[in-house]
Amino acid sequence: MSMMEEKVPGHKGRAEDGKWPWMHIVGFVISIVLTLIALRLVLAHAMAPSGLFVTIMVLAVLQILVQLFFFMHILEGGGPRWHLWMLTLGFIFVFTIVAGSIWIMTFGAEAY
């Protein structure tokens, strides 16, 4: 602690000055709610399969954003945000790998 206090005058979180970690609590509640919505939709067969799949994928993407912004503090930090660029590129490549593989491995079956 001594070193910390010596180096760190008033070590406080910026957005979370108060007594309660509101950011985290809000993030947590949102993530649970999103999960339960997805589960509910699927178990109730609320839509046609393709529509359902798209909906739950959208919910999953929202979940990622919750984790990144509320828990992983992605926007913090000084200097250029190279990690944001890399993550964006990473997600593009993730999409390329998954969608590309599926596209290639169906052998143009969509044409028949």
Binding site: T106, F107, G108, A109, A111, Y112
Partner: protein, 295 residues
């Protein structure tokens, strides 16, 4: 002087290549000696691409030679020396532009022919289907219409589009008859369609083009193109004289070995489809539509 000699030395390989080219007969360059429409389309694309890249490559070589010669660091070289000269918008636009144009021309032709070659080459003739299975280390050809089968050689009629349906009951190989056209993989569990056609009679060299182990180098076969009547005669003769391919015979054939030519008067019906379905074809919509001969 020493460097000049070295530069001439560099021309040696080019000269040697020219000599060689004149030494080999054109017939031996199978890709440039096509015997059917598919091979011809591909050859034209190859020549087109050679010309287009020549537009870039040849000037690059000449410019390189000129620059190194002119701006060589030797005493009394009068050529300008401008160590800070490093930007020129016009030049850069030119050499971003030229490759873009060349690639553009090539791209249009590529896409056009890619789609064209998935269709039968000449819609006039009646298509013939041959089922091809690559095995360790031999080629099995089944004629579903003639109900005969051959190993390591096949007959095709000239002037009719041939629909080769390719699969493998062994590690993946590739079916290549350079003079008729390009190759396609034979894959376990897949029914791949390859359209070829011969427009003159002859014996065409074919080989497996994808490595499959010890006997791979011996996976050569001949495609013999004859006139339609001769083809029918041949098929009738095989049906009458050759032994039948039984299921146990097929099991033997699948085992690893190198064999010569074989002919069979019949084969177990549905063998080809069964093999494909067992090895994963049942999950592929594509296979089912090819086997049903749709589209």
């Amino acid at each position: 002087m020493k460097y000049k000699a070295a530069r001439w030395l560099r021309m040696l390989p080019v000269g040697a290549a020219c000599l060689l080219l004149s030494g080999c007969t054109r017939e031996q360059f199978l890709v440039f000696n096509p015997a059917g429409p598919v091979g011809r389309i591909e050859m034209h694309l190859i020549i087109l691409s050679m010309v287009l890249i020549g537009i870039v490559v040849v000037p690059v070589m000449l410019i390189l030679w000129y620059i190194v010669h002119r701006f060589r660091d030797r005493p009394n070289n009068r050529a300008p020396y401008r160590p800070e000269w490093s930007e020129n918008r016009t030049l850069e636009i030119i050499w971003w532009g030229i490759p873009i144009i060349i690639i553009g021309i090539l791209a249009v032709n590529t896409v056009h022919d890619t789609f064209r070659l998935t269709r039968p080459p000449e819609p006039t003739g009646k298509p013939l289907t041959i089922h091809v299975t690559s095995l360790d280390w031999k080629w099995l050809f089944e004629y579903p219409d003639q109900k005969i089968a051959t190993v390591n050689y096949c007959y095709i009629p000239t002037g009719r589009p041939i629909q080769f349906v390719l699969t493998a009951d062994a590690p993946m190989n590739s079916f290549w008859v350079p003079q008729l056209g390009g190759q396609e993989y034979t894959m376990p569990g897949m029914a791949m369609r390859l359209w070829l056609e011969a427009d003159k009679p002859g014996t065409y060299f074919g080989s497996g083009a994808n490595f499959t182990g010890r006997g791979y180098a011996h996976m050569k076969f001949d495609v013999i193109a004859t006139s339609d009547p001769e083809f029918s005669q041949w098929a009738a003769k095989v049906r009458q004289t050759a032994p039948a391919l039984t299921r146990s015979g097929y099991t033997q054939l699948v085992k690893q070995s190198v064999v010569g030519r074989m002919s069979f008067s019949s084969f177990p019906p549905g063998l080809f489809q069964e093999t494909i379905m067992r090895e994963g074809g049942m999950y592929m919509k594509h296979d089912i539509s090819v086997l049903d001969n749709k589209a």
